[in-house]
Symmetry: C3
Subunit: 630 residues, 3 copies
């Protein structure tokens, strides 16, 4: 009641303006208050002083001539607090007064200290991050700057309590702390949605605390590489965004390229986020609810995948009261083909973060995503693989992972055939961690093989064991050679069938062109798939000839292209074909010299002929090198 | 004990016939009882007076010569109730007596009032609607005329208590009311399966209450349309059946056509049922357990779907003790093709209800289903779309939905190209609700597009948002144009590929015949699918020519048929082809002038040639009109 | 303290060697102990007497010159137990002494008696069979020789308590018995991992008890058949292994051939195991967690299936702390094609048990599996079907099933066309159980049909009803003729399309060769599938001609082979084709005279021509007989 005595001069009366959350604890007989008329009856008017304080101004206390109507602002004086709690007021006609604001006063505790207040009534202020309706009470998960605490409110069995309170609201909760099977919770007696200054205060505190806790770990990159160095600030920003999402209780849905680099990128990030979630959340299964890693079928984010993700997210929101997720695209996501799906998510304000090293289209992508990290945007290219970037990202997300991840960039680089000079450093780092080059290569092959066998199931534990990240070292050492060997046998069998049917010609520019009908001269629906089969044939031909080589593996409606020593520009060729061959429905892309295209089956001959003609005109490269797979 | 003193005359002794549920509360020393011998020992015989009352007739009290055997009926007199509760009887040899029945007497409470009896012992009578075995107690869900209440009985951890009690039994439960996390339950001390008159009484009470609560809402149809008016009584009957299923705790499984009209039909019904379930059931997730909406892949109810549904239902029954479901077919289900699947469900006595507007085969369908609503059965046709019917149905199931559904019939009508004059009224209604014609058309396109992208997942929240039924208005306004636009772009791309390969000829009757190989001249496994692609080509040709048009889109083993201005009868043509071309395996159907057929790939040329010959002979229509899609 | 007084002579002092689990309960002032120095400080040395007993030897009590270092072994005398529990020792310099070992003493109770000790502190010794982390406490499931009991330990909400304790450890648990919703559990106050002799003792007790409880039921085979008799010891061993897995809490994953014999084999075993699990485990849903039956898509164990199984098992281990499973292969699994998948599981030490009757390759299979039962390994052949074997196996696993399974071997035999003389006995047995031959045949057809419709979902309840094993007899009698009839109609429709296109020629050896292009002259993706379609055509041709018949049903990359009256050796033919036709990628197999092969589509003509040439040279059989399907 200190405000009541404050004031500029002794002669100006004080009129109290109660905050909407004030209760009768904050009023006292004899004081003046700002009030609003909320009802007019025969015998007077009812006035509201705050959401919880109201009472009657009896008509006997004012000149009936005064024409009071609902919503009129008045000044009243509290004359009596009756035994039953009812308040009586009289109208006050003050010429001059001073207004003093009064807050609802309570001693707020930090959410992380609830355990020290079992059995007591406490006050907590924070953001509602989840609302879960159970068969009994409604559970509001309220996060303040220290932690999140479940607050249970019971209206009737299975009935949503306090329906005005929504996820995202800033609230004041009053309730009794209980311990239930080792978890603390507040049994709600009062929950108010905050607004105005109080809300701004709480938001400020939360934001400041979040910003501090979201700050990434400071790490030096694993190898000394100026090109990579320049990308670290952006990776730090991504790490911050992801840590913040975890702290805010926002689920993260990772989509990644279903190949070696894609897994070398996503698994470390998954590991780091899992650790961070376990630190930041009390529930044992928070990581399962908040993080999902999903390989993508296509090398871009298909509309179907986006629809499935959205459907899943909306279902989770409905069932568990979760926030909509953040989408994290890894080793995919930089191209124009991803944008329709991004737009679909944008309709639901789902934030998108991309880390990729495929040839990007920033004009199309950037307006749709929150962050977009790609070496091409720094004048670099695919040689900085996504796995290399993401190992740094993982180290920024959670401390102490360096040792467990040192071999991963080498696997990523081998998987995507990175020609970076720094591969030497990465291989050396892996060697020091106990991985010889052959074993690293085997990891890459094993990942590729299991990606196929898992058919787009994340297969977390298996993949962790193969990559030896958060896995079982002993299984790892057994599994990798076994799977690499299985993969090699399957490749050999496929090549036994295909090789006799590979057709050769030397085209205009002098390059060797090899063609193989992978639909008719390879086993279908089995490992290796057409892209890999084509690549394996190509690699052998490059080695055999030591000359420029183009290899085309084609099926009824697609062709896989691989080239070495030839300066192709596949994206441009696709564009040209599309114009020159109306009705062929050509689409596709990939890297400059490696990619795949699709067309309608009835136009295959025309498309392949036109394609080869273009390839035959391409300039040859001085230096032969094997390009990355897609 | 009033019965004991009743009787015709003072001189005839009264013999009490105890109801099987009677306990020792209902016996008194000195009274006579009907009893049955259940054991013969050296020192006498044991007799049963009821399930719970038995005792010894010592041999000293009767002439040992009397040769009593097990199952003999006797009259006994209760001589003593010992301290330990044992009863002693003596045989009675009455020449003449009057029999009086005596019920087990208890004060029954209504299930909905259990909350007022916490801590007390109560009696409830009702039907067992679910039996769930937990790791601890067995939970019997007992429904009386007012509500359903969980009754827990504990035998041993995870062991089924009272194994004689089954779902569907009418029972008397005695137990203590407890409150557990806001839910009331009865801890069972006694549970008896009722029979005879008592059971009949309870059944009668339940039935009467159910019938009253199942009664649909009285609504006036949204538009004035005599054709529709005539179908309202049947829709009321369907509404009653569905409300009754909800009240009885029977799950409802909805299967519907995966297109615009199918969704405009099923989503409002899903919404209304969800609301009604939430009112009628206490558990927060009852709607999730009791209602499932599933789009069908085929335009009829496939045996595979029925097998999956049955498998799912049997699993739910085994795991959760649920009843087998009711199948609700919407915008599908009227044809002979549905009947094998119906027969499979009939084997398990699963009730089936159909609301459809496809050309029906009542002779095949009606004997297998409980209700069958179809405009053709009222002399009307496809112009009354299922969506129009189901909006009325939804309004009958739950009150207060009118405003939220006013735009839906227009979407349904546009989706199925209804030529009804009343479309004007529906469009006007939608316009008043803030939907211009273009936006309605966009909703229809968006539904079609998402149906494809969701691949037969119901996608409830997404579809609700698109249709703006129980959805988010703001998302709706953003999503619909975005998706309609995506769909239009995908259609344009498909047509770019296909159009140059459309073949034209003018057939005998003067109609334009267009043929397109949709397998070879359209992208596969992408939106739009062959049916939609064919339809889009057809629409453009109708517009271009202004003349009668037949369009055939064919693949290896199917053909999609569209026609305008030609009087086709596709069902008959299919029949004829099947006879004329043995070994072609022709099947299929649809509407008269629009449909699809299947055949074996090796006979495609023969089938298409014969088909076209028939089409070339068809009469032309005076008036051109676009027919509904299937 | 009896040990303290034991000794050879009165003059040799006794030095006690405390077991590592001993506590201060087991020490007494004045006694000598073996100890180890664990720290050296200014004022003396700290010594450990056991894991829980340690104290200070003050330097005042020994000659500082004595140069004690960490890990030195010393003999000390306990001089004082202080009020705060600290122990004071002095160094002892004994010339001669006797060492006596002392165990930590507690009164161990049997896990199955915990219910008699509610509210008491108890000790239990056993193996940790599952560790489940909840949002609150960690739950260790500890199994001793009598039962398994959940032991809950709380560190912090959702935090793993006692992280050193792992699944498989032998432990001593001290704690208080509580009853929670009818289930007993021990609230852990102490949990120690046992080692050395104590561990060996516990392991011995557990093993002995397990061995006894795992012992199979003694049964006489259903029919008198010496060939079968010889296989019983191996089946007993399999029954023992499976019972033991159940008792150890190891999940069992069954994979079986998705046909009639495969289901007649696996369903009885599933039934028997379910019953046994329910007896051996307290949780109501143990059977759901511990047993899964899955039909295999291919007629062998594919790498993809193994990957999925492994992924699933690792996920279950991570989420529920379950052991990795045992794989039980039924009516599949004897061939070389299964071995890559077996090797994948071997990497995770997953035990494999095989019961099959397909032509086995024991050299490849046996090193990878624990048990391998196959009639060919006993000089018998496919006529002893897996279903016949598994009915005996099921009877050995659980008592009292005989009557419910008597009709099953006949179904198995009919499904696989067993030509065993003993089929007469099996059919007679079934007849006595109320099954005439036609109904048995119908069961076989119904199983085949539903296997297709369920698409590799186990469909437990449906299949149980069809086979009438743990099913509903009434449904069974309705379902079987309905489904058999549906199957027959679908077969008839398929044959209507296919038969006109069957090509006939008489080959060199005089046999009739029939060829049918099942891709182009049968409906695709519908029942019956190509294998069954080919078989049905073949059966009709055998019947029509009464002569030797070979039938080939081919698609783009496969051919199904059926023969009667011709001595084929398909496995050898496949090997030869593979050598003769490089680039054709021929693989496959099956039985000698019945099987299927795969090849690359582009080489189909060459493969079929070469195949027919080989068949034309095969010797004819004197006696015609229909061979088993695959």
């Amino acid at each position: 009641m200190t405000d009541a005595s404050s004031g500029d001069g002794p002669d100006r009366p004080v009129v109290v303006d109660l905050h909407s959350s004030c209760t009768t604890q904050e009023v006292e007989s004899g004081e003046y208050y700002h009030a609003t008329v909320n009802g007019v009856v025969d015998y007077g008017v009812f006035v509201d002083l705050s959401e919880h304080v109201s009472g009657l101004v009896h008509e006997s206390t004012f000149d009936g001539e005064q024409d009071l109507a609902v919503d009129d602002d008045v000044v009243v004086k509290l004359t009596e607090v009756r035994e039953n709690g009812d308040l009586s007021f009289e109208l006050a006609a003050l010429d001059d007064y001073e207004t003093v604001e009064r807050e609802h006063s309570y001693d707020r505790i930090d959410a992380e200290t609830v355990g020290d207040h079992v059995g007591e009534t406490v006050h907590v202020e924070g953001e509602v991050v989840q609302i879960k309706q159970t068969g009994g009470p409604t559970i509001f998960r309220v996060r303040d700057e220290t932690s999140a605490v479940p607050c249970t409110a019971f209206e009737a069995a299975g009935v949503r309590a306090h329906p005005v309170v929504e996820v995202g609201d800033l609230v004041h909760v009053k309730g009794d702390v209980e311990e239930r099977e080792g978890t603390y919770q507040i049994e709600v007696t009062e929950i108010d949605v905050l607004d105005g200054e109080t809300a701004a205060d709480v938001a400020g505190r939360l934001d400041a605390a979040l910003a501090e806790r979201a700050e990434p770990i400071d790490v030096d990159p694993l190898v000394d590489w100026p090109a990579l160095e320049g990308m670290l600030p952006e990776l730090r920003s991504v790490a911050r965004t992801l840590r913040r999402a975890v702290l805010e209780g926002r689920p993260i849905r990772m989509r990644h390229h279903a190949d070696g680099d894609g897994m070398a990128a996503s698994v470390p990030v998954q590991y780091a986020l899992t650790q961070f979630i376990e630190d930041a959340h009390q529930d044992a299964d928070a990581a399962r609810h908040l993080l999902k890693r999903l390989p993508s079928k296509a090398p871009y984010y298909e509309m179907e995948d986006a629809t499935r993700d959205l459907n899943f997210a909306l279902g989770d929101r409905a069932r568990h009261g979760q926030k909509l997720p953040l989408l994290l695209m890894l080793d995919n996501g930089s191209t124009e083909e991803d944008t329709p799906a991004y737009k679909a998510l944008n309709n639901y304000d789902i934030p998108i973060v991309v880390v990729d090293h495929h040839h990007p289209d920033p004009d199309a992508v950037d307006p749709l995503v929150e962050e977009h990290v790609n070496p091409y945007l720094h004048g670099e290219d695919y040689r900085i693989t996504t796995g290399m970037l993401c190992v740094e990202l993982a180290r920024m997300i959670y401390p102490g992972l360096t040792e467990e991840l040192e071999h991963v960039p080498a696997v990523a680089g081998l998987s995507d055939r990175s020609k970076a000079d720094e591969m030497t450093d990465y291989l050396e780092l892996a060697r020091e961690a106990g991985y010889d080059d052959e074993f690293l290569q085997n990891i890459s092959e094993a990942l590729d093989y299991e990606a196929y066998m898992l058919r787009y199931d994340p297969g977390t534990q298996l993949i962790n064991d193969i990559l030896n990240v958060n896995g079982d070292e002993e299984r790892h050492r057994e599994l990798v050679p076994f799977l690499a060997n299985r993969a090699a046998e399957d490749v050999a069998e496929q090549l036994d069938a295909a090789t006799p049917h590979v057709e050769h010609e030397r085209v205009a520019n002098g390059a060797n062109l090899y063609r193989i009908d992978v639909e008719n001269h390879a086993h279908r629906f089995t490992y290796p798939a057409p892209g890999k089969t084509t690549g394996e044939i190509h690699d052998r031909k490059v080695e055999e000839t030591g000359e420029p080589v183009i290899t085309i593996g084609y099926g009824p409606d697609f062709a896989v292209l691989r080239s070495d020593g030839v300066r192709l520009d596949i994206p441009t060729m696709v564009e040209e074909l599309n114009e020159e061959l109306p009705g062929a429905g050509v689409s596709g892309g990939g890297h400059l010299v490696v990619g795949s295209i699709r067309f309608v089956p009835g136009m295959r001959e025309e498309v392949l002929d036109a394609l080869i003609e273009k390839m035959a005109e391409a300039e040859l490269d001085e230096e032969l090198h094997t390009a990355p797979k897609r």
